[in-house]
């Protein structure tokens, strides 16, 4: 029974993963990828990894939501109203993909990993918690620093207003009244940037 469900979910995750590159609509592509992750999470739940399985779905739902936003933002024809194909080196890519899949598949079939299933009564969440606070404490705190670096990097790269004012002068929006202050984002930001919530002069 478990085997059957695992097989179905594995087939589903591969199929939805394939759909990602076959559908025209970017929203459908993103959420197809999300379904692929959900199926992986489902396999995790089946294989007595409740926390990792459910958390995969949780994290990936959020990340694919963000993915969809950016896909729609930057792709031409985001809804796939016209059918489209934006690929290069197509044959080579197909070949590489097939070779990788077949090679890994052959390795899987030829090797015989030891069978040592997780005990069904183990409290895996608590074990993970003790691991995080004990032996792997350094990994945990390093992850914090890495995430901090990611946040700062993402802000620097994507935000246009830098530390010393906007990167773009000269496109100031018109004033709210003929001689009023400019509407929209103000160039004088910095520490009190949050005070202009809507950003209106």
């Amino acid at each position: 029974m478990t085997d059957l469900l695992v097989t179905l979910l594995a087939a589903f995750t591969v199929w939805t993963g394939w759909r990602v590159f076959r559908v025209d609509s970017m929203v459908r592509a993103s959420f197809s990828l999300m379904l692929s992750f959900i199926a992986v999470g489902g396999i995790g739940v089946l294989l007595s990894a409740p926390y990792i399985g459910v958390a995969t779905v949780f994290m990936m739902a959020v990340e694919m939501m963000v993915m969809a936003i950016f896909m729609v933002m930057f792709m031409m024809n985001p809804a796939g109203l016209n059918p489209m194909s934006m690929v290069h080196q197509h044959r080579f890519s197909i070949g590489a993909g097939v070779v990788a899949a077949l090679g890994l598949g052959a390795a899987v079939l030829l090797s015989s990993p030891p069978s040592n299933p997780v005990l069904s009564d183990a409290d895996v969440v608590a074990e993970l918690g003790h691991e995080l606070l004990g032996p792997s404490m350094l990994i945990f705190e390093t992850a914090g620093v890495t995430l901090l670096a990611t946040m700062v990097g993402a802000v620097i790269l994507s935000s246009r207003q830098g530390r010393f004012g906007n990167a773009d002068e000269g496109s100031r929006p018109p004033g709210l009244s003929p001689d009023g202050e400019p509407a929209g984002r103000k160039p004088d930001n910095g520490g009190e940037g949050h005070h202009h919530h809507g950003g209106h002069g």
Binding site: N77, R160, A167, H197
Partner: protein, 300 residues
């Protein structure tokens, strides 16, 4: 409240010149519900004599109501609100019994010819070309707030948009939900001073703030209740010389004053604002000052 509450008649109002105040007061009554979109309505209430320029828009809104649907006209000033409410209730009963319906006013034609073109019959060419499914695709352009040149979506909104003053047709260009360009295609319909009544002005802002019940109370002349009402309006929104900002004006409306606001050009006022902010700013002006603000088109 409760299981026994009856089905209020769902009315989408197309308000003509001079009828804003009577219609707003009418639809705040018990047993009537003002739909914010024709998709939610069964009755189209056409109040007043519509100028010829609005006829096509009226037909369009009419056709957007789902079946079954009925148009009611309220054009005679002598007909009291009570009488109209009766008429609406009777029509609503017929509608629910399935005894009334109207067919489309506009011909059943797509906005552009497109059928059968393209490899999938979608009607478009290449990546962005042609008119897939009867419309073109938006193209990129300058942005006035953060410089990412993403798509500009242009549409004419009004004259019967519930969040705009009746009669106002705005051609807006949006990038995301920020207005990057706006021009007045036709000014709002002239309304008598009654439409500037503070309780009506307050109700319009309260509706935008998501306070439907307090808005109805306000129209009925009672004190609207709600938490964080003034505070919800951003402090620096819609500041006008000598007339404070939108929050001050809401406070004045709630206190029963109707502040005089100098005329402001909408095509300069709106760009750069996010859509909900723009609507709050517009609602914070009494209708008469928006009419003065909109340029009068050259005599036809």
């Amino acid at each position: 409240m409760g299981l026994s509450s009856p089905d209020p008649a769902s009315v989408f109002a197309a308000i003509g010149p001079g009828w804003q105040a009577p219609v707003e007061r009418l639809l705040a009554r018990q047993g009537l519900r003002r739909a914010l979109t024709p998709r939610d309505a069964g009755i189209l209430l056409v109040a007043g004599d519509m100028p010829g320029t609005a006829a096509e828009a009226l037909s369009r809104v009419h056709d957007q109501l789902p079946h079954p649907r009925v148009t009611l006209r309220w054009t005679i000033a002598e007909e009291t609100a009570d009488a109209v409410a009766e008429r609406i209730a009777a029509t609503w009963r017929d509608l629910r019994a399935g005894e009334a319906d109207e067919s489309d006013h506009l011909p059943d034609q797509p906005p552009n010819e497109w059928k059968g073109v393209g490899p999938h019959g979608q009607g478009g060419k290449g990546m962005m070309g042609g008119t897939p499914y009867g419309r073109t695709m938006a193209m990129t352009g300058e942005d006035i707030r953060d410089g990412l040149q993403l798509d500009r979506y242009t549409a004419r909104i009004g004259p019967f948009a519930p969040m705009l003053p009746p009669g106002l047709v705005l051609e807006v260009t949006l990038q995301g939900d920020v207005i990057v360009a706006a021009s007045v295609q036709s000014p709002p319909f002239a309304q008598p001073a009654d439409a500037d009544a503070p309780e009506l002005c307050a109700a319009r802002m309260l509706t935008l703030l998501g306070l439907d019940e307090p808005a109805r109370r306000s129209i009925r002349g009672r004190r609207p209740s709600g938490f964080w009402v003034r505070g919800a309006v951003p402090r620096d929104l819609g500041r006008i010389k000598d007339a404070g900002n939108a929050r001050d004006r809401l406070a004045a409306f709630l206190a029963g004053d109707s502040p005089a606001v100098a005329a402001t050009d909408l095509s300069e006022l709106l760009p750069g604002l996010e859509w909900s902010e723009a609507m709050l700013v517009l609602a914070s002006f009494p209708p008469s000052s928006i009419l003065r603000a909109a340029p009068i088109p050259e005599a036809a």
